[in-house]
Symmetry: C2
Subunit: 157 residues, 2 copies
DNA sequence: GAGGGCTTGATATACTATAACAGTTCATAT
DNA sequence: ATATGAACTGTTATAGTATATCAAGCCCTC
């Protein structure tokens, strides 16, 4: 499976793989993967894009699954805590994680043209951790978000 | 001068150096470094902490320099555009830049205990750029924010 | 001194997120 | 089986962050 989610790919695999991994992880750890939580995860999985909480809420509301902000924020909190989604700070938006289950400090590429968001492979954050450590700073979490143009959008500019 | 702004240091140098550099840069480039803009910059320089736009606005309002959000957001926009301040996405807050004038992709360390924010030296972001490039992604800007404990706060825990 | 561009003032509103409390569900211990 | 408690959901209200828009003033320059 290619790591280049910016290119076209069999997206149904992304969805089913991630959903299966999440289901498995929840079962193993006795986590309650409730309908709202599953649905929010599905919505986020449906595209490699970051979605705002209120965009998600709108969809939920149409489906009769809760129409107030806390509903979606609580689901996102659950999904984030257990590593199924990540927040893109720069966009105040959320994306489904492509490697759920594994604990990691993700790094993202955000295309400013097509708004796709893809997680980098291999968490290339060691340079930063090293630099921080050399100043005596103890890193607990890292936000890395690179904004620019994805391969496809470079061609069309 | 130590690069360890987490430690105690002669802070008046930070302020005057940065302000002088900003004044110089504005003069050279015919930028209008108006009173509101200068004052917002000063406020942010006064501590190595990130401040919310509304915190700054409160101070401005007390001093009679404008009491509506657009005033401070416009000043922050100007200061950000010209590299005098940076936004900390994770905190929705702003810090004065410690190396104004030089164009750079900053990387920050945020202490979750004392809330100080310090810019890393040397922009340790090449690993990320390399990783992105290897996927064909063209990086235009990078957000790097490491949250954790500064040297001082590690001792007191 | 008229025009144009930029800055500020002011009002209104949009967008993002959380606090707090009530009601429900469900697993577990008694 | 049922009482208990923990976690999830529903709902109301509100806090916090950011921008659109239009009017008015300033300054440069032609």
């Amino acid at each position: 499976m290619p790591s280049h989610e910016f290119q076209s790919h069999d997206h149904s695999h992304c969805v089913s793989d991630a959903m299966n991994a999440a289901l498995l992880h929840c079962e193993k750890n006795s986590l309650k993967f409730t309908p709202v939580r599953q649905r929010v995860f599905e919505i986020l999985l449906s595209e490699h894009k970051a979605m705002g909480a209120y965009d998600i809420l709108e969809i939920l509301a149409k489906e009769g699954m809760g129409s107030q902000p806390p509903v979606v924020y609580r689901a996102l909190d659950f999904l984030g805590t257990h590593g199924f989604v990540h927040k893109i700070e720069k966009l105040n938006a959320f994306v489904a994680c492509e490697h759920p289950g594994s604990d990691h400090d993700p790094a993202f590429m955000i295309c400013r043209s097509c708004t796709k968001v893809v997680e980098m492979e291999g968490s290339p954050n060691s340079e930063i951790s090293t630099a921080a450590k050399s100043m005596g700073f103890e890193v607990e979490a890292i936000v890395v978000e690179a904004e620019g143009l994805c391969p496809t959008c470079q061609d069309t500019e």
